[in-house]
Amino acid sequence: MLSWSTATTGGEVDLAAVAAGEGDTRLERGDELLRFATACATADDDELARARAALADVSDEAFMVDAAAVAANFEMMTRLADSTGARLPADRLERSAQAIGVMGADEFVSKR
């Protein structure tokens, strides 16, 4: 889902920071969102608890729950895409080429 998602950001997000998991994303609450998203997709429950609290502290709990839901949605969509062999059309791939490079997606085993 990386290519699809990054094509919709309109350049508002610093993808290099997203790819690194740290740095200035150029978004309000970007640091906390990036930390939370990283924790959602990794296995450290203690870090997830800290990241969840940190995000709620700079926003509110409804905002945190909505971010949790977005992360969950992409747990769903990544499995949908990879199990059914979803591919992007060539023109969409071309438009996403820079983002794909920044995010290191060319190296993904799921590239097809």
Binding site: F63, M77, R87, S110
Partner: protein, 247 residues
Amino acid sequence: MDILTQNFSEIRSPTSFCEDVGVGGTTVRDDLAEAHRLAWEHIASPGTWWTAAERVELATTVRLAIDDDDPLPPWVGVTTSDRLPGERIVADVAHDVAYRIGRHAATVSRDVARAVMDEIGELAYVELCAIASSVAAVVHFCRNAGVEVPPFPEPIAGEPSREHPALADAELNWVPVAAPADEVAAVVQAYTAVPAEQVNTWRMADAQYMPEEDMIHADWSRREGGLSRAQMELVAARVAQLRECFF
């Protein structure tokens, strides 16, 4: 139908746990709670190609894969381990691919998918994929939000419907889709050959992410002060990157 209603009324949805157990007293908005309640009901209902008991058995394997503290590598079938119950009603190949989609979806190749489809049928495979992806959404939401995942409901008796629309081979997916193929994005058409899964998946996506009709609006937000599109895409991109999902 009375039995269905009675059973369903006793089901606690994942997000109802958010309300009861609480994330600091947070109330989960109604559309998200309802989508997850319906997803859990859907898992335990007769499907299109699998019975409800088979669907719950597969969903349990997916959950095992997600929760596994010592996950098997992608090339090892979970049925060759001692992690599943001894008595099973679903074929081993289906459990093996359910575990793999649950834990290592990026490693599912065309050859793997083809081999499974040759054994269980193409549309049964599509339904299995949809079970896996919807379980992943609910289980991960609960983990992300810090609440307990409820057990699956008891399966509802009944036979699979075996209904499907006119099908077409797709260029943008490995699986057959509802005809005509490739007129919408690959992720949108992926489950169209099994309409009940298509409905459930996109109902969840509407609530978890955004309603499909709003995707054209770059400045969309669910509410004032809520996540902006760019903030949503930051979360989406990071999760997709860590799951190594190229699409």
